[in-house]
Amino acid sequence: MLRIFSLVIALAWLPFAVSAQELQTLLQSHRDVIIKPSRKSVGPVLDTLVASGLPTVPGFLEAWQDKSIYLRAEDDLFYVGTTGGAGLVLLDVETGAEVVAGIGKKDAKQIKPNGGVRREIGSALVAFQLSDPDIARRTQALDALARALDPAQLGPLVASIDGEPDAALKARKQKLANYLQARFGETPTIRVAAIQNLSSDLSVEGRAVLSQILETTTLVAQELPDGTNVASILTPGEGGLARDVAYQMLVDDHDLPARVGPADIRRALEANLDGGTVGGVPVAQLDSDDMRLRAYDALVTEGAVPARVDAEAMDAAFADWGFYTVYVESDPTITEAAETAQASVKTRVGLSQTADIGMDAISLASIYFLAAIGLAVTFGVMGVINMAHGEFIMMGAYTGYVVQQIVPDYTLSLIVALPLAFAVTFGAGVAMERLVIRWLYHRPLETLLATFGISIALQQLAKNIFGTQARPLTSPGWLDGAWVINDVIQISYIRIAIFVLALAFLCLLLFILKRTRLGLEVRAVTQNPRMAASMGINPEKIKILTFGLGSGIAGIAGVAIGLYAKVTSEMGADYIVQSFMTVVVGGVGNVWGTLAGATMIGGFQKGVEWLNPSNTLAAQTYMILFIILFIQFRPKGIVALKGRAAGD
């Protein structure tokens, strides 16, 4: 404590302590300790050094800790030494100026403090670093401190809080100080108070502190030693303690006879071969467990091998011994407080995780929506099934990639890429409509197959042009990072951007279909093409525009998806089945239906992933099975048209 006090004073005096040879003088006065420091003797010296308030002290301490302080034989002074190409170079401890270079090992003696001393020096240094004027160094010191919580650093940390100018860093310091208090506080009261503070802390560090306090070991004892802080009493064969494991603990710790497993029996039999028989049983008959046991038991009677421990013997041993999980922390008030705090943290974490899954589901739904909405336009409004839709998504993504190769600024390239991707896929869609689909209206299965052909060809073309490896589509800097709500809930900005984009497209499409001349004509052509034609609407033009629009949206979706996933020639194929599912589940011919379908599929997939987080493949499998079943109950989707309009 005293050292801390003197440090504070020293720091206060720092600007005024200007002197030429003071450090060397000071060092010389503690010469013996510095040359041969021990953990005990070094304390007062460090205190003195810190109290001197010399600006050169931290530098010296670092060098000392690094084992680069040398005592020159010639003048018996301390120097900082560096080993370069020209041998040892000695620098002045005050100014850092080079004094002499290229001297031999015998000319200067290296001072090598032991580990304990270096730690002491380190904590003295932490005090300096925690108050360093450079914020980067302070952050670094805090990071180091957080990585390995050390009770010795509690003092310097607390002392540095008041002088901390940066608010965020100050909060961090307080938090870390609280962690230290919780684990190493001097009295139980201090610790319990600190632990209670942790009950609303969702950070990984905070949770780690609690679980460290609650660390347990398994204890086997016939009688519990006094003052044992028992967490729970275990029964072998129940809960987390298997009978075999429990018995093995008795074997290991208390020298009970070891169990004899099948492998042991086999080994014992092999070792006790006697001619063609073991224990009276011919070797050839030893191909069943029963015969092996009989042979082994015969060996036991002969006294050649230890007896088997059967279930009854194990039961007897278990009756004799108690199995406990025991807190490493011996004070029950502290573990109780920590348990309470942990329970509260767990509840909060659970809630936050649920919210986080919800957000994930929404962003996944946005992606499905973006991928599917173009399809909903072509499939739903025109009844044309376009299996190359996924490849249009891919084309959009590659457009974004190519633009980034030409325009280096990521923001600008994104602004260029979005409309360009729309234009490219709009063109591709129109070309496909004119060249292929136009001839296949009212032959939906043929359309499906022809567009499959296009999809195969486009995929391979992309592979030929861009290669098989994934191409990056880098998002601009302002889309990096995530919106952190708390330590559990965070959403990357890209996902938010995709959500916003999806929302924008929903509004745009609703606007186009419901409020514009084009939308009116599209609906007219959908419902009665002949009537529409007789009213001066050109159905061909409308079909081209609708198809182009649907394909164009796929292109934009491609840019968006490429930003958060990889751009490959197969990315379209990854989305096509899901997109169709989205449209079909939602209900064909309806923008809202697509939204509902995307929400349901995204939500369901995330829900399954939540139940079985390690396995996204299983989640997709279950999702598809669910969709197949769902269609049983609502063959026309969530938002279904009824009656005659459905047109059977």
């Binding site: 009824k642 009656g643 005659r644 309009a645």
Partner: protein
């Protein structure tokens, strides 16, 4: 003449629009009946309900002596019970021959395995010949149905219906798009068929209905507006109002 089909209090609505509104209807066996009514009166929906294509929201439909309820039965089951239906557009299987079309319709077990192991019989062949004779397609038996004229397709379809040997025949606008001579022939086919079974003809064409010379039911807004001889219903002021008033 006993009652073969009876609908009582049947209603069905699509998105709030009542296509059939508390409809009650009866037909005996044998009987020929014409159903007329303006567009949207519910004529096609009436057929959809009887044949099981549309499920009514309420009401009951009973059929035959045992008063079997047709509600909830599948279309194919209803067809096997003895209800035949002819669509407005001639729907024959155009890629198959006239003989194949008729053979498929012949009254025989309909299960997949029974059909798979079905063997042609002399009886069946004779029946097909007789039907072809009846619908005037004896010379066309080996032709592909798609090559037939519009009228011939209509007759083939009627022939297929007769091959099913239904007890109730529902016929939707049989005379549409026919030449006068073809109409004549169609009329006599229907009148002939009605001698042994119940036949319901839905028709727009008053002239054709007059020729059928049978009891007429007038549908309007999904309910029966009038029933009786053609002369009787055409003098009904409400019918005149519905047909001419607008």
């Amino acid at each position: 003449m006993s009652t073969l089909l009876e609908l009582s209090g049947v209603s069905v609505s699509f998105d709030g629009f009542k296509a059939i509104n508390n409809l009650s209807f009866q037909i005996g066996e044998p009987e020929l009946r014409a159903i007329i009514g303006p567009n949207g009166a519910g004529k096609t929906t009436f057929m959809d309900i009887v044949t099981g294509k549309t499920k009514p929201d309420e009401g009951r439909i009973v059929f035959g002596e045992k008063n079997i309820s047709l509600i909830g039965m599948s279309e194919s089951k209803i067809a096997r019970e003895g209800v035949g239906r002819k669509f407005q557009k001639p729907t024959v299987f155009e890629q198959q021959t006239v003989r194949e079309n008729l053979a498929m319709a012949l009254k025989n077990p309909r299960g997949p395995f029974e059909v798979l192991f079905y063997r042609k019989t002399k009886l069946g062949a004779d029946r097909i010949e007789a039907l072809a004779e009846q619908i005037g397609l004896s010379d066309e038996l080996t032709r592909v149905a798609g090559e037939l004229s519009h009228g011939q397709k209509q007759w083939l379809e009627i022939g297929m219906l007769l091959a099913q040997e239904p007890r109730l025949l529902l016929v939707d606008e049989p005379a549409a798009g026919m030449t006068p001579a073809e109409r004549e022939k169609t009329t006599s086919m229907l009148v002939e068929a009605a001698k042994t079974r119940a036949v319901v003809v839905v028709e727009h064409d008053m002239e054709f209905v007059r020729r059928l010379n049978c009891k007429v039911t007038v549908l309007h807004e999904g309910a029966v507006l009038a029933e009786g001889s053609l002369d009787h219903v055409t003098q009904n002021p409400e019918v005149i109002e519905v047909y001419l008033g607008r």
